[in-house]
Amino acid sequence: MTVLSCSDLSYRLGDAQLLQGITLSVQRGETLGIVGPNGSGKSSLLKLLANLRVPGQGQVLLHGQPLRKISQRTIAQTLTVVEQHADTHDAIGVFDAVALGRTPWLSALSPWSANDTAIVEQALADVDATHLRNRTWRGLSGGERQRVHIARALAQCPQILLLDEPTNHLDIQHQLAILKTVQALPVTTLIALHDLNQALSCDRLAILQHGRLIALGKPLEVLTPQRLQATFGVQAHYLTDPFDGAQILRMRV
């Protein structure tokens, strides 16, 4: 069942055509990886899908409804995005930062409750950040901040999670742990990734180049050595891990 789709999506910023003619549909529960070289439009695509930017052309459908016709609050109860560079100069505490994730669910009629506290605690535990809960944002390392951002998104209890390079500041243990956590969640996930070996664990991959969608399908079917040479400019071949028989990409320039 399609939960999120877009058709003929284009977006330009000044003179730069960042995205062009993207048509894509995301199935419930799948993990769709978005890969592509720098500047290929991964972040822009996620921003359009999350209604943070308005496309110049085309539209995004959430559960079959155009995003334009849904209130921002309803969108946020269904879908959320973890950005790459969200920072603050405020001396906000970690718990409070994650608690922001509850914003779309709170109102004058439904104020903060014990349930919200429990959801925030669970989100902190999911990203292995429970021990950080009383620290302030400014005292965190880049990787810890990244995990807190992801916890905030989890606290939002979304059905669809958009992640923009969520692992780029993390140490190797937390990279693998976050990916595993995210893939184990009962949510639909769109994840922009740089590490192609990590991308191999996605259900499907979308490959972007110069703002166009050039391939979409199972990782091993679309990440062919020819494609890697044409799109990423690297020579690549697959090795088989004797440990579990998994395919691993080895690349060189």
Binding site: R73, A76, A91, I92
Partner: protein, 338 residues
């Protein structure tokens, strides 16, 4: 819940005490008992026999002054919090959007060039100037880019402020007598001398209404912690909230500036000081800043009247002279506390 009630009660008590002190202290000290008796006479017709001169000073001069000081302090501090949060800039203050510059131009047009031929008061001119400047700044921010990002708003505000300040300076040098120039200068630095009851009925509702609207949007303001995109992904209709709250802050600031001139420092530094003490959550930060601003400006007004005998120092000078060292102490103390 009880803790919160106690806090609210303590805040009200502090505010009442500050107003009382503001009324009692002055060049002619008036005993707090007399102040209370005057209030009882005026509010409930208690019928105490008092010196009519004391009664006049308390009711018509000092009480109005203390109330307007409280309202201005609260209003400016609230606006400071909102602009710093929405624009994600620690240097944002209520005058960032060209409001004080526009107000000064409006005031000078009335006072020096005699615009309105006496039918328009200095305050009305200042208010009109402030609103014009704000409208121009927002228009510029909109035209300069489709998104209306905080950087565009800040740059448009700087451009607008510079323009209106230049117009003001130009008119003063070209047309004003030295007496007029001194009067304008005094007004620009903040002046609570002229306030009577009509000013109270403008300033207090503006401050209260502004605070209520901002507190109502406290969660939206919290959601801006990590920027506008992050707020949008948390379900905040960013453009609408920005427009509403920035306009609200501009209106409150324009009302305050038109009554007392542009008192600096309060709107910039009180929010920072209160953030250090009360944290960053706007549910607490907004009321606490309003209270802090009110207490601070009442105290600054008392000092401005009593520091030099027989002379009133512009309250804007006092706010910065006293406020800057106090803020420095808070910053240093905070560093040691870590």
């Amino acid at each position: 819940m009880t803790a919160r009630l106690i806090l609210v009660f303590a805040a009200c008590a502090a505010l009442l005490l500050a107003v009382l002190a503001g009324v009692a202290i002055g060049e002619t000290p008036i005993a707090p008992a007399v102040v209370l008796q005057v209030l009882a006479n005026k509010l409930w017709g208690a019928g105490y026999v008092l010196d009519p001169i004391d009664e006049g000073i308390v009711w018509n001069y000092r009480l109005t002054r203390a109330l307007v000081a409280a309202a201005c302090g609260a209003g400016l501090a609230t606006c400071g919090v909102v602009l710093q949060s929405l624009l994600r800039n620690p240097l944002a203050d209520p005058y960032l959007l060209g409001i004080s510059a526009g107000a000064s131009t409006g005031a000078v047009l009335v006072a020096v060039l005699g615009l309105g031929a006496g039918a328009v008061s200095l305050s009305a001119g200042a208010f009109a100037g402030a609103i014009c400047a704000f409208a121009l700044v927002i228009l510029l921010a909109r035209v300069s880019g489709p998104t209306g990002t905080s950087a565009q708003i800040i740059l448009a505000g700087i451009a607008g402020s510079q323009l209106f300040n230049a117009i003001t300076a130009f008119m003063i040098t070209k047309s004003a007598s030295s007496e007029q120039a001194r009067g304008i200068m005094f007004w620009l630095l903040g002046n609570l001398s002229g306030v009577r009851w009509p000013s109270v009925w403008m300033a207090v509702p503006a401050a209260v209404l502004g605070l209520v609207i901002c507190v109502w949007h406290r969660r939206a303001l919290d959601a801006f912690t990590f920027g506008a995109d992050s707020a949008a992904s948390l379900g905040i209709p960013v453009r609408r909230v920005q427009l509403l709250l920035i306009s609200c802050a501009a209106l409150v600031t324009a009302v305050m500036v038109s009554i007392v001139g542009s008192i600096g420092f309060v709107g910039l530094v009180i929010p920072h000081a209160v953030r250090l003490l009360a944290g960053t959550g706007h549910g607490r930060l907004l009321p606490a800043s309003a209270l802090g601003g009110a207490l601070f400006l009442i105290a600054a007004d008392v000092l401005s009247r009593t520091l030099i005998k027989g002379q009133v120092i512009p309250v804007g000078v006092v706010t910065a002279l006293v406020g800057a060292p106090v803020f420095a102490l808070i910053l240093i103390g905070r560093r040691h506390a870590r």
